[in-house]
């Protein structure tokens, strides 16, 4: 089976897996499938760790599939700052990114104030909605000059991370 993954830096790699009695043979390719990155054997330990064997040397990593992303930790990474990376399954992603013009909340919380009405014109940087969680306020500002097309929230509403707050049309040639 083959899947495509995207690294945080935006590189795409192809992962081809073939289960077998010794483990799962796994081939990783990049560059549209032309460049062989690595060929390894995978086995899963009882505690869920994955053991990666290549050339007779085994390394151990932690992998968690969570919806359309894969969390991957490698305690032996040469750069400890990238010991954990999050990879996106690009082919199997169920839905595209939120459409243009839709402003979303970056955190789960309660809407404590809505400063605009539908049809209102706003300037870039203007405060639109305030979301509060754990006693911390986050001010959602207009990323561009435009017109509020639709409100998708009201004061008191609990919104979840990525949830739509309002639709802001871009100003026409302003």
């Amino acid at each position: 089976m083959t899947i495509w993954l995207e690294t945080p830096a935006g590189h795409r790699v192809e992962v081809l897996t073939t289960p077998g009695p010794e483990g799962t043979r796994t081939v990783v390719r990049a560059g549209g499938g032309d460049v062989l990155v690595r060929e390894v054997m995978l086995r899963q330990a009882p505690n869920g760790d994955w053991m990666v064997e290549s050339g007779g040397v085994t390394r151990t990593v932690q992998v968690t599939e969570d919806r359309d992303v894969i969390w991957l930790s490698d305690p032996g990474a040469t750069d400890p700052r990238s010991a954990t990376v999050v990879l996106r399954k690009v082919m199997s992603r169920p839905s595209g990114p939120p459409a243009d013009r839709h402003l979303c909340t970056p955190m789960t919380g309660r809407v404590v104030s809505v400063a605009v009405k539908p049809g209102e014109q706003v300037r870039r940087g203007q405060a639109l909605v305030v979301v509060e969680a754990m006693k911390m306020e986050h001010v959602v500002r207009a990323p561009w000059d435009g017109t509020v097309e639709r409100l998708a929230c009201h004061v008191g509403l609990i919104v979840e991370t990525g949830g739509e707050l309002l639709v802001l049309d871009r100003a026409q040639a302003s």
Binding site: T17, T64, L72, P80, P98
Partner: protein, 510 residues
């Protein structure tokens, strides 16, 4: 003292339960409906539900907590930190019910609740304080005048604050009124008091604090110093002991200031006297006193060998300080550093994150301690503090402690919810941190308010590990597709969104 009710949650509730076990006391946890399966519930001997998910209707509801005390027959109440820990009404309710309150009496807590009141008390015994002004006149002109008299930048602070909530730095007069309005709203919500004051911002200052202990017989001592200058949003994220910026003579002077203040207010139990230390003048200014155990207490425990929570319980039971604390036995040794692991997105303004922790591995090595509130499968809800765990390393010196902490963070795995681990790792490798060249706005200056750009380029090792990602023969142990078993587990955060830069205010199409 036989049974202790812990009026808190998360890692501190677990920490108190462990101290109870050392003393042969039974522990009782309380929980909101959002925390029915939480780790602090599982780690106590008994647990009682005290209400709905909102803290105001559970952890902050004195009547509900007192009901739990009666139901379980607890004879002692430990408030932890946050929530009702500095609430004089709660302390009084506990004491009036004939129970033991683990903390200073209401008469000591009360006056220290007001930060400007505490500063006045410090000034009364000759301690320096940071110049400030109370905003008792809400008129715009009065507010502007007060700030102008101090000189910009100023910091707006809630009178009854904690955890950096509602604190905001203002650099220009034109931003002041909006900042004050926002701070009032936050303060009102968080502390039920919208009293604010201004303080002059001291540039590149360090946060130094001193642990103190007092018994019920009038004896007070200091238990050495900590430094907590690595902060984001005015909240500490890395703490250490001892502070390496000051000379032994300066350290002695600061500890003595704390001792004098604690004596002056007749302190009982464990508390912390906080100072702002100006590297220009090498002077420590009194900031405030916290009348409870602090998040960062482990660094003191690790260097002194003193169990501060056990000490709290013994002092509350009436033991004299001399039995609990022997200065010669508890001299600081080596160096300790603590990092706070928060469910928050450092690449996105440190915004709190919620969701289910699909896989967690805490480190486990000699001279490393983990105080964790969460483990695999637990849910981080939007109702409470997003601190997942504290990881503390001890070393023979600061470099040794840093190396051990670096190693421990390598072994730390948190999958399912974005957390601040990458920035903690980056800080621990940063030349400024390694050389100890820190101040309270260092994180902001180095990483920006929006947070750092980290983990953008996994190296070859990570690409190797990438091979793991395919669906494979043996069944996956951890699957995000299992049905949500908890009403709050659907507050899931798509970590991809933040890493790809899709967040608030950013064009979704990239």
């Amino acid at each position: 003292m036989k049974k202790v009710l812990i009026a808190n949650r998360g890692e501190i509730a677990i920490r108190v339960a462990r101290a109870c076990r050392v003393l042969g006391l039974r522990s009782v946890a309380v929980y909101s409906e959002a925390d029915a399966m939480a780790r602090h519930v599982r780690k106590a001997d008994e647990a009682v539900c005290i209400g709905p998910p909102e803290p105001s209707k559970s952890y902050l509801d004195i009547d509900r907590v007192m009901d739990a005390v009666r139901k379980t027959g607890a004879d002692t109440v430990h408030p932890g930190y946050g929530f009702l820990s500095e609430n004089t009404d709660f302390a009084r309710a506990v004491i009036d019910a004939g129970l033991t309150w683990v903390g200073p009496p209401p008469g000591v807590i009360g006056p220290l609740q007001s930060k400007t009141g505490a500063k006045a008390q410090a000034e009364a015994i000759g301690l320096a304080t940071v110049p400030g002004a109370v905003l008792d006149d809400p008129a715009d002109e009065a507010v502007l005048a007060a700030a102008a008299s101090l000189g910009y930048p100023v910091i707006v602070k809630p009178e009854a604050g904690g955890g950096g909530k509602g604190m905001v730095r203002v650099d220009r007069p034109e931003d002041l009124l909006a900042a004050v309005a926002a701070a009032r709203r936050v303060a009102k919500g968080a502390f039920k008091s919208d009293g604010l004051f201004l303080e002059r911002h001291v540039g590149h200052a360090r946060h130094i604090e001193v642990q103190v202990l007092g018994d019920r017989h009038g004896q007070v001592t200091h238990v050495h110093d900590r430094e907590c200058s690595v902060q984001r949003r005015h909240q500490k994220i890395i703490e250490e002991s001892p502070c390496t910026a000051i000379t032994p003579a300066e350290r002695e002077q600061i500890c003595d200031m704390a001792y004098r203040f604690a004596s002056h207010v007749g302190y009982e139990g464990a508390g912390t006297v906080e100072f702002l230390w100006d590297p220009q003048t090498r002077k420590a200014c009194f900031l405030e006193m916290n009348t409870r155990i602090q998040v960062e207490h482990p660094v003191t425990e690790v260097v002194t060998g003193m169990d501060l929570v056990v000490a709290q319980l013994r002092l509350a039971a009436g033991e004299p300080l001399s039995r609990v604390w022997q200065p010669s036995e508890h001299l600081p040794r080596g160096h300790a550093i603590e990092v706070r692991l928060y469910a928050e997105d450092p690449a996105n303004g440190f915004l709190p994150q919620t969701g289910k922790l699909q896989r967690v591995i805490w480190p486990d090595a000699p001279f490393v301690r983990v105080d964790a509130g969460f483990e695999t499968g637990d849910v981080v809800s939007m109702h409470t503090d997003p601190m997942l765990a504290k990881i503390i390393a001890w070393g023979t010196d600061r470099n040794d402690a840093i190396a051990r902490l670096q190693g421990a963070l390598r072994e730390t795995v948190v999958h399912g919810v974005v957390c601040n681990l990458p920035i903690l790792v980056d800080i621990l490798h940063h030349p400024d941190f390694v050389s100890g060249n820190l101040h309270t706005t260092w994180v902001e200056e180095v990483y920006g308010i929006g947070g750092p750009a980290l983990g953008e380029s996994p190296d070859l090792e990570a690409l190797l590990a990438l091979a793991m990602a395919g669906p494979s023969g043996p069944p996956q142990r951890v699957s995000a597709r299992e049905p949500a078993s908890h009403p709050y587990s659907n507050g899931f955060v798509d970590p991809w969104a933040s890493i790809a830069g899709v967040g608030f205010g950013v064009d979704g199409s990239r």
